[in-house]
Symmetry: C2
Subunit: 205 residues, 2 copies
């Protein structure tokens, strides 16, 4: 074997390794989004690799869950930061809720898998950017008199986060259709954000 | 020792046993309401009994947590079933929220201890009576046009439950004062229950 052959083989092996790692991440995302308790065996099988290959890339299940969540959070952050939050705060909130629901629904049980596997601090850090974005929008809506300002803004952001999680749980439990969830969240939030004495907007906008 | 002495001693022992069991339950309730991870050692110490005595009454920590939760749920059910839910549905909801908050705040972290220790089904069963009571009130409010009827009543009950838990978590995290919680829950719920096109009531009533 010439040194050129060796270099080609090395490149080939590295390309295979990258493909395997990507296939494992994709498979793990699919499996964990369906079942938060999906095992390493199921994930390796879905990725079309052996357990040894999987452990060569991710040394524990927690490492793999962490990598899946990191990638999902990057995807979520890219989608959410692209939402137009200018203009009427009520319309902006509707757009933010739609985008947030799309992400929440895409990753489904992955949040549950993350909460069961990762240290509490990591999940809180993952929610920081979405919380800060929601907080800025709610503050602007308060300043413009569209949202109530007699409750702490941190409480209103918590209710937005909580309503999204509750809708996800209701869909998971079969109590709500996934396509009805964004309207239910928007209706709920627009009602609870309306200042006392104000008129609740129609959730269809 | 005569047979009369023996009978007296037996009665005495049974009375001691009952007192010990009650002291253990009281101590466990106090300890778990403060720290959901309170250990058997801490609870025995707070009750003024030894570990052997404690295990003579409750064979595992889970058995003890179960007994604490059973008694707390009986207390909660007694308090909640005494709430007057007649008259204006908005006022009735305020009274129900005040009573629910008092119970939630009294037992604090006990809910967390229960969720960590007991099988999921038991906690769901514990929430059945409060959910059914809230559902009846919300249905009546919808029938009388005071509450929105364009969202599933199960979702509205979930939001009431969720808002109460979120307030408890916010108080536990030091983000909200316990005395502000019932007003925040009531303001939130009265807003989100107002029919579209309706005016949000002042949370102070």
């Amino acid at each position: 074997m010439t040194s050129t052959d060796e270099a080609t083989t090395g490149r080939q092996q590295r390309a295979d390794a990258r493909r395997n790692a990507a296939a494992i991440l994709d498979a793990a995302t699919r499996c964990l989004a369906r079942d938060p308790d999906a095992s390493i065996n199921e994930i390796a099988k879905a990725a079309g690799v052996g357990r040894v290959t999987l452990y060569g890339h991710f040394d524990t299940r927690a490492t793999l869950v962490g990598a899946v969540v990191d990638r999902a959070m990057q995807d979520a952050e890219a989608a959410l930061s692209a939402v137009d939050l200018s203009g009427d705060p009520v319309d902006a909130l509707r757009r933010l809720i739609d985008a947030t629901w799309t992400i929440t629904n895409r990753y489904g049980a992955l949040v549950v898998a993350a909460e069961r596997t990762l240290p509490g601090g990591e999940m809180e850090a993952a929610h920081e950017a979405p919380r800060a974005r929601a907080e800025r929008l709610l503050e602007r809506g308060r300043a413009e008199g569209r949202f109530r300002d007699d409750l702490p803004v941190s409480w209103l952001v918590t209710m937005l986060h909580t309503a999204t999680h509750a809708a996800s749980a209701a869909v998971y439990a079969g109590e709500m259709a996934a396509e009805d969830a964004p309207r239910a969240i928007a209706a709920t939030m627009l009602g609870l954000l309306t200042p006392p004495g104000g008129v609740v907007p129609d959730p269809r906008g």
